[in-house]
């Protein structure tokens, strides 16, 4: 039957194409009222007084809530990236005495409609006493810097080290040591649908129902229970259609407490839909890191040692991801390279900016930029071609599985792959040698053309477990209840392919249920390119148990040994006697309590499975890009872009390549356009799409996307590696290398805005 590996069209599509998909903003409940959040206009200030009298007098206003209405407020806990020290800077859902970034929630206004709620926001009077603000991570670490949290001296709530080999001894043996600083700018996921929630408390049933995107429904379910005091049995989460996630969507945010609180307080269904300006100040931002790095090599290009200091600008609070992005950076800075002597000191630093979390390929996008830039710098100094320097240092297939050595927070054993082989393939597809000649010819004409390589290893499929239940329903259909979530990526389609193959049924006979805590008791959600890896593997396990049950039921009915039965085309039949068969609907009838109990069998055809592992699959690949830069304007034209990635096994090649193309567009946005600029007082300067520039169809090249399945992962029964992040992960790296090559400069920070490139060109001319 083999649905796995074929381009099955997505089951998610039809309602979305017809405009009848239900996103959170499309949900209407009887008596529903609308919330708007009053947010701090100051980056750092004491809250002196809040006066809502005028707002409350406005017709149509239901009420105004502040921290004073919420005694016993707890802070929002980390769900991952946990370090003890970071707990000291967790965020309460609403500011209590102090605000620490522009956008910090100060009050909640609830009104008959959104227009009135926004009118009322303007009538709430807040008296602030400004405090000095700090926005730069290194400045925040200075002795005289303003302290954001009294309990966190120096604004560094946590730091850690990674240490393998003998770094200083290795540096002593190096012929060339490159020492450089790098910076990646603050940008973010910015899904096209803003955040939103609808909360309704049914007093009669004593159930609080929450509609809204939650990439980890069950985690948010638990956190809301912990913060509100309601038992999980009295909370029901339902995930509607989701307008993009990319890491930032669906974490437990302050509003995830405030909106249900308002619904219970006012005893009305409450809808909150974030507007875009709020979204650009309040949703997790990401990527802002500063590096000081040393890379040591022998004359022949062999890398002996790397030493890095990473400052991770966390913004004003610890959010649910804790230190995850910098944990990933410190782990994956070595990426595809054999670096036996490695030291990294990573510091989490609090500043008066919006708090951060993950964004697609968190920490790796940044680290790949730094490492791949260092490689090109070293290649230039050693007189080697950048591809050749990589050849000499990429981990070889015979070294797999490759253990990078102990990391305090990150699984570090690469499972399988041929990294040099992938590079050669990419060089071939790109016509690398010829491209080099074209660049030389262009330069001879005075045109700045260049080529850039970014090799990468991605992490994916994070554990530690995922849940699935599979049942055969009364009509003989197969239903998968999965603990993973949709963020628009097409996971229901991919899972239905896996289940249909495993159960030997038509894909049309498979239903997939997810994102509903009344129907799925456990789950770890959609993150870290894990849904197909972990959710798919759990589904396989549950299917296998269901097949055993089906065989048991059929054996009892047909009075034959289960070993003489075969499962094909949605039926179980006697081997060699296909006329003696039972379809799934018949088996479902036999599993009803009456007949099943009479035969001494457990009723029902429903089996659970947990797929549990800490071992991740590591997809790997290459970004390669050719650019031409206009020396007058600093504008970059992308001439050709290739992304290659080995993901072990493709469940749906069309979806995989769609992920690569979408990731690349975001990666280009991060490399060229997107930046959350703040002024020195911490005022955000990019609070609309006029200032926060996301790539349009004119900014993104057609691109070439090649996904391979040369090395199935040994770490899961499907052999899959997660495919969600390879498209973005080395885009900053490859583009920065191509631009450096084109202009004969050394890029050390992103984004590659024209002004920065003109600066680099001027500096090069003067030296």
């Amino acid at each position: 039957m083999a649905y796995i590996g074929s381009n099955v069209k997505r089951r998610e599509d039809l309602p979305l194409l017809r405009g009848i998909g239900k996103y959170v903003g499309d949900i209407r409940r009887p008596g529903m009222v609308h919330a708007a959040i009053l947010r701090s206009t100051r980056a750092h200030a004491r809250l002196v007084a809040i006066d809502a009298t005028a707002a409350l007098a406005l017709p149509g206003v239901v009420g105004v809530l502040t921290a004073a209405d919420m005694p016993g407020l707890k802070t929002i806990p980390m769900r991952t990236g946990i370090m003890e020290g970071l707990k000291r800077s967790q965020q309460t859902p609403i500011a209590t005495e102090r605000v620490r970034y522009v956008g910090d929630p100060v009050a909640v206004v609830v009104a008959q409609d959104r227009y009135i709620a926004e009118d009322a926001l303007e009538l709430v009077e807040v008296v602030y006493k400004d405090l000095p603000a700090v926005t730069d991570a290194r400045a925040a670490m200075a002795a005289d810097a303003p302290r954001l949290h009294e309990e966190v001296p120096g604004n560094v709530p946590a730091d850690f080290e990674v240490d393998t080999g003998d770094v200083e001894r290795a540096f002593a043996e190096c012929d060339l040591i490159i020492e450089e600083t790098f910076e990646t700018q603050r940008h973010a996921a910015v899904p096209l649908e803003t955040r939103g929630l609808v909360a309704e408390y049914d007093e009669v049933r004593d159930v609080l129902t929450m509609w809204g995107p939650t990439k980890m429904t069950h985690t948010n379910w638990r956190i809301l229970s912990e913060l509100s005091g309601l038992p999980q049995s009295a909370i029901h989460f339902i995930e509607p259609a989701v307008g993009g996630g990319f890491g930032a969507r669906g974490e437990f945010y302050p509003e995830d407490f405030l909106v249900p609180f308002a619904a219970m307080h006012f005893r009305r269904p409450v809808c909150w839909i974030e507007d875009r300006s709020e979204n650009l100040k309040a949703m997790n931002q990401s990527r802002e890191q500063s590096y000081r790095v040393r890379l040591g090599l022998r004359q022949d290009g062999t890398i002996l040692a790397m030493d890095a200091e990473i400052l991770f600008n966390m913004g004003g609070y610890t959010r649910t991801h804790g230190g995850l992005p910098v944990m990933a950076s410190s782990a994956m800075l070595r990426g595809p390279l054999r670096i036996k002597n490695y030291h990294c000191h990573a510091c989490c630093v609090l500043t008066n900016k919006t708090p951060v979390g993950t964004y697609r390929s968190p920490g790796r996008y940044e680290a790949n930029f730094v490492r791949e830039r260092l490689l090109d710098m070293a290649a230039r100094r050693l007189g080697l071609d950048p591809a050749e320097l990589r050849r000499r240092n990429l981990i070889r297939p015979e070294e797999m599985p490759y253990d990078h050595g102990k990391h305090p927070f990150h699984y570090m054993v690469y499972d399988s792959g041929d990294l040099p082989g992938q590079l050669e393939a990419a060089l071939g597809h790109m016509g690398y040698e010829e491209l080099r000649q074209r660049c030389d010819a262009a330069r001879a004409e005075g045109r700045a053309m260049g080529v850039g390589i970014g090799c990468f290893v991605e992490t994916s499929g994070i554990g530690p477990w995922e849940y699935a239940r599979v049942e055969v329903g009364n009509n003989g259909g197969v239903v998968l209840y999965s603990g993973v979530n949709s963020v628009g990526q097409g996971i229901a389609t991919a899972l239905s392919q896996i289940v249909a193959d495993e159960m030997c049924v038509s894909i049309d006979d498979v239903r997939v249920v997810h994102g509903d805590t009344a129907k799925v008791p456990f789950g770890n959600g959609s993150n870290a390119s894990r849904c197909t890896v972990m959710g798919g593997s759990a589904a396989v396990g549950a299917c296998r148990k269901v097949k055993d049950k089906l065989l048991m039921l059929a054996a009892a009915e047909l009075e034959i040994d289960a070993g003489d039965l075969v499962l094909e085309d949605g039926r179980i039949s006697v081997r060699g006697a296909p006329e003696r068969s039972l379809d799934f609907a018949a088996l479902a009838r036999l599993a009803l309590p009456g007949p099943a109990l009479a035969k001494g069998l457990t009723p029902g055809i429903s089996e659970e499975d947990f797929f549990a592992t800490d071992k991740r699959p590591f997809p790997y690949g290459v970004h390669m890009v050719a650019v031409e830069v206009d020396r007058e304007t600093g504008m970059i034209e992308i001439l050709d872009y290739l992304v290659m990635e080995d993901i072990g096994r493709k469940v749906n090649p069309m979806i995989v390549e769609g992920q690569m193309a979408g990731g690349l567009a975001q990666g280009i946005g991060g490399a060229l356009l997107e930046e959350f600029v703040y002024d020195e007082d911490g005022q955000p300067q990019a609070t609309s799409f006029m200032d926060y520039l996301m790539p349009t169809a004119m900014d993104v090249p057609p691109g070439r996307f090649i996904s391979t399945e040369d090395f199935p992962s040994p770490n899961n029964p499907l052999g899959v590696k997660g495919a969600g992040e390879g498209g973005i992960t080395a885009a900053g790296a490859a583009l920065a290398n191509a631009v450096s090559d084109a202009l004969g400069v050394e890029v050390t920070r992103l984004p590659l805005k024209p002004g920065y490139l003109l600066e680099l060109m001027d500096a090069a001319e003067q030296s």
Binding site: K9, R10, E12, D13, L14, L16, L17, R18, G19, I20, G21, K22, Y23, G25, D26, R28, D113, R114, Y115, V190, P191, L192, E193, T194, A241, V242, G243, G244, G245, F246, D275, R276, V487, G488, Q489, G490, M654, I655, G658, A661, G662, G663, L664, A665, Q666, S688, F689, M690, M694, T696, A697, M698, V700, P702, G703, F705, G727
Partner: protein, 159 residues
């Protein structure tokens, strides 16, 4: 605030409603007419998710007041398919060629593409990309959207 009565013809059917003069057309379509296929992504006219046809022209419904549309013919994504069982060729090709992921930008992009194909029955990829440059998609990287529109153009010429 005083409400005004407005009458619209939406996807071929007459609708009357009341709206404050400040009410955005996008909100009127979504909240008063219940047609939630028109999405609001930025409310300042950049992302294009809220695109609808007003008297045949593609318009950002977040940049227009409902009262300004009094008496107008409005077409939304819900009216694109000829009936409940048939898709418009653009919808078909978006489905076939994986031209959508989360689907949030899709209604605006479908209508923008519909407007393009009315003007230009055989657009080049460059022309498609230029025409789409006022619609943001955060998921697809536009690759399959361009392919789907190109193929839909061919299909529509063939029919």
């Amino acid at each position: 605030m005083n409400k005004r009565t407005i009458t619209l013809r939406v996807n071929g059917a007459e609708h009357a409603g009341e709206a404050e003069p400040r009410k955005l057309l996008s909100d009127f379509i979504r909240d008063d007419l219940g047609l939630t296929g028109t999405h609001v992504g930025c409310e300042h006219g950049v992302c294009g998710a809220c695109t609808v046809f007003v008297n045949g022209d593609p318009v950002r419904s977040c940049l227009m007041f409902a009262v300004q549309a009094d008496g107008a013919e409005i077409d939304t994504v819900e009216g694109l398919a000829p009936d409940a069982d048939t898709l418009h060729p653009l919808q078909e090709k978006f489905h076939e060629r994986h031209g959508l992921q989360c689907g949030f930008c899709t209604p605006g992009i479908l209508l923008t593409a519909r407007a393009l194909l009315r003007e230009n029955r055989d657009p080049s990829d460059t022309e498609i990309r230029e025409w789409l440059s006022g619609n943001l998609c955060r998921c697809t990287g536009y690759v399959n959207i361009v392919t789907a529109i190109r193929e839909a153009a061919k299909e529509m010429s063939r029919r």
